[in-house]
């Protein structure tokens, strides 16, 4: 029996799409993680859900559901503020903290380690943690003084980082060219801006960046403060 390109094409399409259809109907066509970690197979923690199996696609809510680590504890520990914090995916940490020194990672591995310490299921080790996360663990009684000291050796201070959730409606974007007048038009009060900058604003056509620098302030911090005001409004 011989076969030409036409039949190769037809058979290939039938086999591929037919195979996918059959797999889908049979329940085998799974294209994303089911967000349930595997269980530890042996040792002291056998049978418990394994923090080492946390994937980047997991949200804070998925982790809360599996490990009973509250969403707000995770958010506070990794210094994340977002509109829909429950849906924050762990893998986003890597891009948020991409400005850290090259051999330092705050990402999925850090979350695994944090959850491992929080739950006492010690299947993960040796990752960097934010200082805030270590404080949370200590305050919650999950680690003792010695463990805290040891963890602080590999701790990163990330107090000035904030995640802006871009999956929702576009918010007013502050740039180096944003004026005080534009901020007022978007609902920020002049008095609130003066409080952040620490000086009276006499010309509303001034650039926020210029005023920040003139008053010896880091523009990034002022910008974050103004974003908070925009959110509140």
């Amino acid at each position: 029996m011989k076969i030409n390109s036409k039949w190769i094409g037809i058979i290939s399409i039938l086999v591929i799409f037919g195979g996918i259809l059959i797999a889908d109907v049979s329940g085998f066509w799974i294209t994303e993680s089911n967000k349930i970690p595997v269980k530890v197979e042996e040792g002291e923690f056998k049978g418990q859900l394994d923090p080492a199996d946390i994937r980047g696609s997991y949200t804070f809510k998925d982790i809360e559901n599996s490990f009973n680590v509250p969403v707000n504890v995770l958010a506070q520990s990794f210094r994340i503020k977002a509109d829909n914090i429950e849906e924050f995916q762990v893998k986003n940490l890597e891009s948020i903290y991409s400005n850290l020194p090259q051999d330092i990672d705050i990402g999925t591995g850090s979350v695994k380690y944090f959850v491992s310490l929080y739950t006492g299921i010690h299947t993960v080790d040796g990752e960097y943690l934010p200082k805030a996360a270590i404080e949370t663990l200590y305050t919650a009684g999950k680690i003792n003084d010695n463990e805290k000291e040891e963890l602080l050796l590999n701790a990163i201070d990330i107090k000035n980082t904030e995640f802006r959730d871009t999956t929702h409606e576009e918010e007013f974007d502050i740039s180096g060219e944003t004026t005080i007048k534009e901020l007022i038009e978007n609902g920020v009060k002049k008095e609130e801006l003066e409080e952040i900058i620490g000086a009276e604003i006499t010309d509303t056509n001034s650039l926020l960046k210029t005023l920040s620098e003139q008053n010896g302030l880091k523009y990034g911090r002022v910008k974050n403060g103004v974003y908070d005001l925009l959110e509140d409004n």
Binding site: M1, K2, S5, I20, F28, E32
Partner: protein, 273 residues
């Protein structure tokens, strides 16, 4: 005179577009937007080689590797089944990375004419063909050991459809650009020398039910089949092509370049050429 294989070209464009749309939609969905009638799935979910990568870890230690899902294993088996029957038609008719190398190669053909695809001496080329097996062994070993997709660091296929998302490793984008540049002087360089998936599928050339067969009594020895073969196989010296490099593109066949009807055909043993 060479006829054009429009069916194969249409298949290549079809799968290139489908994969491209899936990748774009995944990227859009990460930004909170998406095209409603397209699936919001990662390329990892439909990559049959992902299934190969995770198969060994699943088999040896019972765990899938990060980012790979059951659908990739389904794709792996589907393509293996197709390849067992028809040979590596996935390479010749479907793989988007192979397709884009071919399309870039057409520019190279126009520039370099007879020198195109004849630059590497056969003695060296013969041994270089084994490097894709080394790649395969390294990928499987490193992936199974680390339970992560180490291949992503150099995967030009993933880079091709994700270079705009920020998710493709810089090294993989460099590999992609290098492959596309090389495609100007060598036809399908990734497929010939580096593709770990092609390395596996190529082995099916030895056992597939359908094979490329040449009728030596009808053959006039014009060597057009040799000249056209993208993988530099000496079709005219063989009666059955079992070369592991064959991608079943059908370019050597009587359907395309062979001037004599039913002389080079794709058939089972019962219908020899």
């Amino acid at each position: 005179m060479r006829k054009r294989n429009n069916i194969r070209l249409m298949m290549q464009i079809f799968f290139f577009v489908i994969v491209g749309l899936i990748a774009i939609n995944k990227g859009l969905s990460e930004m909170g937007r998406s095209i409603s009638f397209l699936p919001k799935i990662s390329l990892h979910a439909i990559c049959p080689f992902g299934g190969v990568e995770t198969f060994f870890s699943l088999f040896t230690i019972g765990k899938t590797i990060s980012k790979i899902h059951e659908s990739a294993l389904v794709m792996m088996w589907i393509v293996f089944g197709l390849t067992l029957v028809l040979g590596p038609v996935f390479c010749g008719f479907i793989c988007p990375l192979g397709s884009i190398q071919e399309w870039v190669g057409k520019i190279g053909k126009k520039i370099f004419k007879k020198k195109y695809n004849n630059i590497i001496p056969k003695k060296i080329d013969k041994y270089l063909r084994y490097t894709r097996y080394l790649m395969l062994i390294w990928v499987i070993y490193a992936t199974t050991k680390s339970l992560t997709l180490v291949f992503l660091e150099i995967d030009p296929y993933y880079a091709l459809f994700n270079f705009w998302t920020g998710e493709a490793a810089v090294t993989s984008i460099i590999v992609l650009l290098a492959i596309l540049l090389l495609s100007l002087i060598i036809e399908r360089p990734w497929c010939k020398y580096l593709c770990p998936y092609g390395a596996i599928l190529g082995l099916f050339n030895k056992i597939s039910f359908f094979k490329i067969r040449r009728n030596k009594t009808k053959c006039i020895g014009c060597n057009k089949c040799d000249n056209i073969c993208p993988m530099n196989i000496d079709v005219s010296s063989k009666e059955v092509i079992t070369d592991t490099s064959c991608i079943r593109c059908m370019e050597c066949s009587s359907e395309v370049v062979c001037p004599i009807e039913d002389t080079v055909i794709h058939s089972t043993r019962k219908e020899r050429a």
